[in-house]
Structures are given as C-alpha cells and as structure tokens.
C-alpha cells in the first residue's frame, strides 16, 4: 500500500501539465473552465481533436489503438492536471470511457478498426440508449425491438434520458432481438448511426431549465448486421460490462469536477462571511471528508484489477457521490443565502452553485436510483434475498 507517486510518475505529471496548461492558456483559452456541458459544442469538438492530435484523448487505451497504456497512477495524474488546467468537461465522455472500452473488450478486430479510431480522434461523439419510458432503470424490461431484414438490423422503440443525444454521431442501443423473449434474455447490443431518418431526438427540459437529456425515437432505424457487440442475445452481458466501466477511471475526472465545485462553495463562504458560521464550517468539513473518501474509495476500486469482482468500494460508489453532490448543492444554497435564488440575467439560467442544487436532484435518480442502488448493495454486496419481481 503506497499513496505517493514515483519519480517517473512525477515526470509524466510535468509533461501532461505542461501540455494542458499551454493549450488552455493559448489556443483553447476561450473554453477554459466553462461549466455547462451543452455550451460551445463545436469548440469542444475541436478540443477533443486537439487532445487526439497529441495522443492525450484516451491515455488508458492500448497504444495499438491510439492510447498510451497509461498506468492507474498516470491516469490519476492526468485527471488531476486536466482539472487543474481548467480544461472543459469531455464532450465524448461516453465514447471514450464507455463505448470504447466495451468495444475493446467485446469487439472483433474488424469492429475495433471500424469504431475506435473515430473515438480516439474525436471525430464521432457517442451517446447511450439504455433507459426506456416505462422501464426506467430496469434494463431487463427493455421493449425496443430489433429484427434482421435484408442484412440490416431494423430497430423500433423509444429510449429516454439519452444524455447529449442531440449532438451525438453514434448511439449504442440495447434492444430485444429475440421476439417474445423476457427479462435479460434475448437482448442485443447494437452500434448505430444517429444521422439517419429513423432516429429522432427530442430534448427534455429539466428542472434547471436546460435540456441535456433527450427522448430518442427509433422508427425503422437501421444498422448493418455486423454492428453488434457480442452475439445476438449477448446484450445483457455486454451492457453489464459497460456499466462496470462507468465505475472505472472515468470517476477520476468526475471527482476533479467535484473538487472544483467544493472549492467554489468554499470561496463563496469566505467571501460572504459564512465561513465563520460554526454550522457551515461543520458542513464544509463534512463535504471535504466525503470528497477525500471518494478519492480513496476510487483508488481502492481501481487498484482492484478485476472489475467484475464484487468490490464494496465499487458497489457503493454511485450512491456515495450522488448523495455527496446533493448535500453539496444544499450547502451551496445555504452558503449563498437568498441571493442564490436570483438569476444573474433575464433568463432562467443558473450559475455553477445553484445549478448543482437543482441538477443534483437527478444525480440520485439516473443510472439507477438510490433505491435501486441499495437493493444492489444489499443483494450483491451482502447476499441478502433478492427483491421479488411482480408478475409481468
């Protein structure tokens, strides 16, 4: 057990920090530190491509596919320096951290050659077609159907909560490819182009007034027969593996964002004098502890090389950060006081701190509500009896 970094690691830190700071001070200074995921999309695509140009876009990937085979320590360092430099949130988070690793794990060589270079290069942005209306977080209840027709999969159905679908190029879709099948059986995992007549995206306006999520309607949408990861019927297995990547190194970048958010709360408390309030001090300390423990929890789960293992740190991570961020949002409001409820402009638009308060109400819901997370923890982590399903 060792937490410090080696001299080699520190050299790597110097290299990536230098590059990132130069970019953010120079050509990409205009998008330094922008908070909202939906702002400045074209510039962010250029930023993805700049990362790729210098081989910083997917450092954890194998060198053969454009990565750097970066160690865990290096990935930690890159995440830290990325945030420190104020580089914007990765627009292709889903491609780089979810779709890519899943294709690396389950794809044929031909599929890797077809999809990975566009991700590494920042040419194609991905989104995720899991949730459906009526099925909620219940992937086993997917109703979207896929049938084979003239060498294509033809897909009909509706996905919902497809984050960032409105500017994505590709979507992975879990669909029921075996007619009459139920539950986790008979599902397949398809890789589809967004730019086709059968795909329609309608934004969903959220509580904060923005529209990051979408409904995605698939009406005779098509992809070639070989645009499937695993075999027909393997969809559940592939989807579950992908969810495990969600708890992977992508957590590090997310934590750096949380660090910036907590720092913003601390700065606000210092500015307006709330930093002297003993109760606010307790809550800030609580947030500080929580953030540090998330970091070391993530390092514990990442140091565990087998992601498929039942690992307590990994199993509890989602609910931990979702609760942490919800608490941070409430703390931010209490630090700012009534001031926080007044928008800066004439639009219904919120600064970083009030936006955490509003947005974080969805953190405890999407990707498995806190209730479902607790079921998983009890059943998979503690071996408790499974919650019975109704007769469906």
């Amino acid at each position: 057990m060792k937490l410090g970094f080696s001299a080699e690691d520190e050299a790597f830190r110097a290299e990536c920090a230098g590059w990132l700071q130069a970019q953010m001070a120079g050509p990409f200074a205009d998008i330094r530190g922008i908070p909202n995921l939906c702002d400045e999309i074209p510039r962010r695509k250029e930023w993805e491509q700049q990362l790729a140009a210098d081989r910083w876009s997917c450092i954890g990937w194998p060198a053969a596919w454009g990565g750097r085979d970066a160690t865990l320590a290096q990935q930690v360092i890159f995440a830290e320096e990325y945030a420190r430099a104020g580089a914007p949130n990765r627009i292709n988070h889903i491609g780089v951290e979810l779709a890519g690793p899943t294709i690396l794990a389950f794809g044929s060589e031909a599929q890797k050659a077809q999809y990975l270079p566009d991700i590494v290069a920042g040419r194609k942005i991905w989104c995720q077609g899991y949730s459906e209306p009526g099925a909620g977080s219940d992937l086993a209840n997917v109703k979207t159907k896929a049938r084979l027709e003239d060498g294509d999969w033809v897909v009909d159905g509706q996905k919902v909560w497809t984050s960032l679908a409105h500017y994505s190029d590709m979507i992975f879709v879990v669909a029921r490819s075996e007619e009459g099948s139920k539950g986790p059986k008979g599902l397949s995992f398809l890789l589809m182009d967004m730019d086709q007549p059968g795909v329609e995206v309608r934004p969903i306006r959220q509580i904060n007034g923005e529209a990051e999520f979408n409904e995605t309607f698939l009406t005779e949408a098509r992809c070639p027969a070989d645009a499937m990861l695993g075999a027909a019927g393997d969809g559940w297995k592939v989807a579950m593996a992908l969810l495990a990547f969600e708890r992977g190194v992508s957590t590090l970048g997310q934590q750096m964002q949380f660090r910036n958010e907590l720092d913003a709360v601390i700065a606000a408390a210092r500015t307006n004098g709330k930093a002297a309030d003993p109760i606010i001090r307790q809550r800030i300390a609580q947030a500080e502890i929580g953030l540090r423990l998330m970091r070391y929890g993530a390092l514990r789960m990442l140091s565990n090389t087998d992601l498929s293992d039942i690992d307590g740190a990994a199993l509890t991570y989602k609910i931990q950060w979702a609760k942490w961020r919800r608490d941070l949002g409430e703390l931010a409001m209490d630090v700012l006081g009534q001031e926080a409820e007044i928008a800066a402009s004439n639009h219904y638009e919120w600064g970083v701190l009030p936006n955490i308060y509003l947005y974080s109400r969805s953190d405890t819901i999407y990707g498995g509500t806190n209730q479902i997370q607790r079921n998983l923890i009890a059943e998979r982590g503690l071996g408790m009896p499974r919650e019975p399903r109704g007769i469906s």
């Binding site: 009534q338 928008a343 109400r361």
Partner: protein, 351 residues
C-alpha cells in the same frame, strides 16, 4: 381547551381547498410563471368571488374579521397548489395597517388590498435613511415586488408606507428560482414615505403574518407532495410491481407523513397562540417556520426522487413544489436562524 377546528373553520378550509384545486391548475400557474408570477384571474376570483383576501381584517375595516387560524387554512390550501398569488404580500400589508396604520392609511389601502385591486409587498433594510418624509435605501428580496402598488418597508425599527408609483422609487424584478413568487430589488432615492401610527405593531404584524403564511403554505405543499406521490406510486409499475408496493418506498412515504403531522401541529399551534395572545406565541412562530420549511423541502425532494426520471423534468410539477420549498426555506430567516432564536429563548434567559 379544544385543539380541533370549529365547523366554520372546516368550512373555510374545504372551500379554499376546493377553490385552489379547481382554479390553480398547472397550466395556469405555468402561464403566470412565464409572466410576473401572478395568475390575475385566480387572484381576482380569490378576492372577489371567494372573498377571502381579507380574512384576517376586522369586519369594520371591510374584512371577514377572523383570525390567524383561518388565514393559515387559506394559505395552506394555496400552498397545496403552489398557487401563483400575492397572498403573502397583501396579507402582510393588510395586517400591518390594521395593527399599526393610521385611520387614513387604513381607509386608503385596506379596501384595495381586500378587493385585490392593489398588490402589496414588504421588504426590510438595515441601512435605509428616512427624514422629512423622504426615504432612501435599498430593499432586497421583495416577493412579487415587481408587480406591487404598495410597499410596506421596514427600515430598522420603523415601518413606512410607500407607493410604488411615487417619484424616486425604482423596482427591479428578478428572474427567480421559484417563478411563482419572483423577488424584486427596490431602490428608493428620496422617495415620499409615510410613517405608520404604531411602528412596532405594524412590524410585528408583518413578521407574524409572513411566518404563519410561509409555514402554512409549506404544510399544504408538503401534504400535496405526499398525496401526489402516493397516487403516482399506486399506478406506476416497475420490475413488474406497483412501485408503491416496495417497502423502502412505503417507508419513505411514511417518513413524510410523520413530519407532516408534526408540521400540522406546528402551524395551528402557532396560529392559535397568536390569536390567543399566548406566552408561547414567539417560540411557536419560530418552531412553525423552521419545522414546516424543513418538512416541505424534505417532502418536495422526496417527491422528485420517488417519481424517478419524470420527477426532474420541467414538464412535471414536482419542481414547482421543490422550488417553492427552497424559497420558503430561505425567506424571512432560515431554519438555523429560527432555531437559534428558540435556543436563545430556552437557554439564555435567567434560570
């Protein structure tokens, strides 16, 4: 001693509940949110057809001559629909003028406040200056201030009556998180202002009415958040079962009910204590505001959570409750502040 509603009180509650449920619909509230946060038609029917805007104003001054319990029943019903109304502003101003206004001020303003013709707001400032009938200073966070005709302003220990249309008055309405009660900043530059007859009584009425109104609205909102979530949970099926059949879900609803039942005791205790001039009135007011605001925020947060994905969309009404709950939390002193006032009453007086 009888801690149950009279028949008349039950009737007022039923009438108000029915009125708001029928008229303060989501569609109408959203239309008001896109404008200045007031559903004018609702407001007009409330004042004139229902005739409840002056519930706490003596009959001799054109009101219904009832008390804080009755006012709370109405605010609770309005809160249950997150109705977009200047109820708090008008009630505060009316009660302040009843308690401390000059006969001229009462005659000038009460009829218009009770009929709803005039809209009032209140705000306070610690560093405003008043001399020779002219008031200068900045008054922040005035609810529905952008639409107000009458401003009842607390400057230190003074209470001043200002007309919004007077020279030297500049009101800036803000886009506000809770769009059903947008806040405004009022800047006065030597604006003509009248003193009331009894500053302390007027300011006390502003406080009392504001706190009872917010606590009662919070109670109504919390109960509605629970009721709507219960209804949803019986219909919505997931994992092949009505989600309301999951025990964790049920317990969460039970936790809401546990808090709400206490909030209900708090509101009516406080309202009664005010009406009866009880020794407990001050501790009751602080308790009601702190407890009800916390309860509403908890229940509205649970409402979002227990609705799942639909709960955090703009389209669903859950966010209206949540944002109203937040605004009640921070308005007129946050819960921590009210609890500290109670601690001071309990701990700091001579043993």
């Amino acid at each position: 001693m009888e801690f149950a509603f009279t028949e008349e009180q039950v009737m007022i509650a039923d009438t108000a509940r029915g009125f708001f449920a029928e008229h303060a619909t989501s569609a109408r509230t959203r239309a008001a949110m896109a404008a200045d946060g007031i559903d004018r038609e609702l407001w007009s029917s409330f004042c004139n057809e229902l005739g409840l805007a002056g519930v706490g104003v003596p009959e001799a001054l054109g009101g219904a001559g009832l008390g804080m319990v009755e006012f709370a029943l109405i605010a609770e019903a309005a809160g249950a629909q997150v109705a977009a109304l200047p109820l708090m502003g008008n009630a505060r101003a009316a009660h302040a003028l009843v308690a401390g206004g000059t006969p001229e001020q009462q005659a000038r303003w009460l009829p218009a406040l009770v009929s709803g013709e005039s809209i009032a707001t209140s705000a306070s400032s610690q560093d405003a200056s008043f001399s020779n009938g002219k008031l200068s200073g900045t008054f922040r966070f005035a609810p529905h201030g952008g639409s107000a005709d009458l401003l009842l302003l607390t400057a230190g220990e003074q209470c001043l009556v200002v007309e919004a249309s007077a020279p030297g008055v500049a009101v800036t309405a803000h886009v506000t998180m809770d769009q059903t009660r947008p806040l405004a900043t009022i800047v006065l530059n030597n604006a003509p202002a009248e003193t009331v007859a009894d500053h302390a009584a007027a300011n006390r009425a502003l406080d009392v009415t504001g706190l009872i109104c917010l606590a009662a609205e919070a109670l109504g909102g919390a109960q509605a958040a629970l009721d709507r979530t219960v209804a949803y949970s019986k219909e919505r099926v997931q994992f092949g079962r009505a989600i309301g059949s999951f025990q964790a879900y049920k317990h969460r609803l039970a936790d809401m009910m546990i808090e709400i039942e206490q909030a209900r005791s708090a509101v009516y205790w406080a309202a009664c204590a005010i009406d009866e001039g009880s020794d407990e009135a001050q501790i009751a007011l602080h308790s009601a505001k702190a407890f009800c605001a916390d309860t509403f925020h908890m229940c509205a947060g649970n409402m979002i959570q227990l609705h799942g994905g639909i709960g955090f969309t703009w389209e669903h009404d859950a966010h209206l409750f949540f944002k109203r709950a937040r605004s009640i939390l921070s308005m007129l002193g946050d819960s921590q502040w009210h609890r500290e006032q109670i601690a001071a009453l309990v701990l700091d007086q001579a043993a």
